[in-house]
Each structure stands twice: as C-alpha cells, then as structure tokens.
Symmetry: C2
Subunit: 242 residues, 2 copies
C-alpha cells in the first residue's frame, strides 16, 4: 500500500490542486480543484483508475472558482468537504469539518486542522507527513488577511499551531507565485519572510498590514460562485469523463 | 542519509529546474537552471546550506537562457555538465558526459542517459528512482524535433530506452504546459498522447510531424547564449548570494 500523490498547477491564479489516493483501494481525494482545469483533472483521475471520495476545499477562494459541484456530476458519490465556519457554503457541502475530523481514503487518514486567519473558515489538512496549508502558510510567505473575516492575529496563532508539527512535515500551499512547489515546517520556521518561529505576534501583524495588495481580480465572481461550491460553473464546463 | 529534492518552476517558459542534494554531505546538483530565476535559486541553495557541485544541462535550450555560468560566480568549484554531442558548448562546459557517466553527490549517483532526438545532444539523468527527461519525454507528450539536429526517428529510440526503466520510475520533464509536475514511466507507456509502449515508429514520426508549432519566441537569443553556458547573462544578473 502506498500513497499516490499528484501536485497540479493552474497558471492564471497560480493555484495548486492536489490529488491523493491509496494505491490498493484506489480511493482518492482532491484538494482545491479549479473549474477551468476540470478536464485535465478528471482525465487524470480516470487514467489512474481512481475513485473520488472527497472533494476538499481549504477555504472559500477569492481568486478562482472551484470545480467541486461540477466534479460531482462525474463522481456522484464524492462528498464535498468544507470547514465548519464556512456557513455560506453549508447548503452545497456534504461534510462540514472542524479540528481533528478524519477523512479516510483506504488505510490513510486525512486529518482536518483549523487554521483561520486568511479567511474565517480556512482549513489545513494533514495526510502522512504532507500538510496542505491552503492560504494560511505559503512557501516563505503567508496569506493576506484583509477580507472574508481575515485576521492577522488569528493567522499568527494558526501558523504557530502548524509550527508544532515535526520539522520534516512537507508543506504544500494552495498557491505559489515564485515557482516553489514544496517546503517543510522546519524551513518555514527559519526562512519565512512574514512569520518565523521567533517572530512575535506584533511583528507578524505589522508584516501583514504592510502588504499593499490589490483585491483579487476575480473576487466578485469567485466568492459567490464558491459559496455555491462552483454550482454555477457546472453547466458550462466539459469533461472527458462521461 | 536522504535525498533533498526541490522542483522549481519558471512561469514564462514553463521550465522546471531541479535541485538535488544529499542530506549529510550537503553536496548538490542543479538541473536546467534559468537565468531570470537565479536570485530565487541561489537564495534557496544558501538557506538549505547546500554546496553546489554540478550545474547540469539536459540540452542547449531554445526557449530560455541558462544561469550556468552566472551560478559559477557564486559556486566557483561547481562543474557545468553537458552532453558530449553539444560541441558548440564544449568551451564553457567542465564535464562532457555520455551514456553511463556517473556524477556523485554524497552517496547518491546521478547517471547520464543519452536521449537524443529533440536535439542532437539531449540527455536524461537518473538518480534513485527519479528520471529527469529534459525535452525528450514530457508528461503525456514529447519534445518537438524540428531544429538543432532534432529527429523523430532518433527520439523514438531514446524514449523506448527510457520505457525499459521500471514502471515506478518518476518522470520529471524540463517543461510542462498543463500544470502537471510528475509522472511515471508506467503512466507514460500507457497514456502518452504522442508515444506509448505499443506505438510503432511510423506512428510516432507522424505524430511529431503533425505538431504545428511556431519557433520558440526567444530562439535567436537563447541558442547562442546557451552555447556559452549563459556567460553573456552573467554581467546583468544579481544574486543575493554574495
């Protein structure tokens, strides 16, 4: 038995999608799937003969639209998984998770970790030694905190919770804008530009407040679309997986 | 002892750069480093406390410029490694390799495999179960064969040589244009759109000839620059690694 693992990139919003599966049962999960990449993702799931069990969102994205609902057309038994605090997406979600909730794929377990701060309901997920941090912890950076219930104070606590994981834990974020694909908790504790193990909360809040970022280009379309788990995209997308 | 492995992406030419290192000796190699990403790459090498021993090129690239020579300013003992057939780059290369040449980093060995066809001197490199295929074998596709001594007939033979490796061998190409990061020999034998285990040479040649691709945008600047191992970029680039 081994873990099948695929990291996939969407170039426009620099989003990473992840496919995780157990080699024997072929049970699989997808994390942060993007609407415009659904053909690629369903083709890959089909080629690898995977049975999609969980469609996991780390949070309600503001920069792209999820393919969660469209994916359910091809995998009707798959469950959409969302952090408990995302009440606006409750009606389209199948499983609302909070701290410690376990999602089994074969003999592996995906464990939910609450990491609010970028948004109110932002979650991380741990499987084996792989940590999917959504928009909380990036490679050498962190998520912004200026909309959707974001709070630098809260994000500080969330990231310090992640810093308690073993240094060798591999960090896979929802985005990267510099071409990095993976880091470790040990690396981020030492080299993150926004938050390190020794930075106090005040310093981190100052760093986050110093970010002068434009709103995400697609925020007006993305947030309502993602609050419906991407349902509004379902009609216009095609998939090779009939 | 373990293998440190980083996959890095350059967005403009969709190029993957790879850093490989042995955890105890910290000896490292970089494969297909890109000039405009040198600040990122040298910063990462420094953070990880790695000692760059080999600067490896899979081939003379036509779509971007290598940072090989500029990197030597920061790692003067590092050796530029190039396939034997790249005679135009012989004067700037330190080690010209052919089939079976072994490059040791700590207790690991990087083995050179001749895989001409995309260009005359295109090489692949194998370390542990990781295969770096340059522009010979892509994920679900292959390199083009219409310049720099390219030959579909030759590439067919090269890829079939790679197909003899164990199915579980991980495939890391020099480019991906669809957001894939890794494949396996087993997957490519079954799912590659251009060449599969059962495709005959004629079918592959037809597939390659059907590619209607514009010349790479930067071919006129890139080829001569890469024939000098990126020397002409050395004056204009900065690195944080003083």
């Amino acid at each position: 038995m081994s873990l099948i693992f695929k990291q996939l990139f969407e170039n426009e919003s620099c989003t990473y999608t992840y496919i995780l599966a157990e080699s024997e049962t072929r049970e699989a999960a997808i994390i942060d799937a993007v609407d415009i990449m659904m053909e690629r993702d369903t083709a890959l799931l089909k080629e690898l003969n995977l049975d999609l069990k969980f469609i996991i969102e780390t949070h309600i994205h503001a920069d792209h639209i999820t393919s969660a609902c469209p994916l359910k057309k091809y995998y009707p038994k798959a469950k959409i998984v969302m952090g408990m605090e995302n009440v606006d997406a409750e009606s389209c979600s199948d499983i609302m998770v909070n701290e410690g909730h376990v999602l089994p794929i074969g003999n592996y377990e995906i464990k939910a970790i609450e990491t609010p701060g970028h948004t109110l309901g932002c979650m991380s997920y741990l499987i084996d030694n792989k940590l999917f941090t959504g928009d909380s912890l990036f490679i050498r950076s962190t998520g912004r905190c200026d909309f959707q219930g974001g709070s630098a104070k809260t994000l500080y606590k969330s990231i310090h919770k992640l810093f308690k994981l073993p240094d060798s834990t591999e960090v896979y974020p929802a985005h990267d804008y510099n071409g990095f694909s993976v880091s470790t908790i040990g690396e981020e504790k030492k080299f993150n530009s926004m938050i390190q193990e020794t930075f106090d909360q005040k310093t981190f809040i100052k760093n986050v407040n110093s970010l002068k970022l434009d709103p995400p280009k697609k925020i007006k379309a993305s947030i309502p679309a993602n609050q419906s788990c991407g349902l509004i995209s379902a009609q216009i997308l095609k998939s090779p997986y009939k």
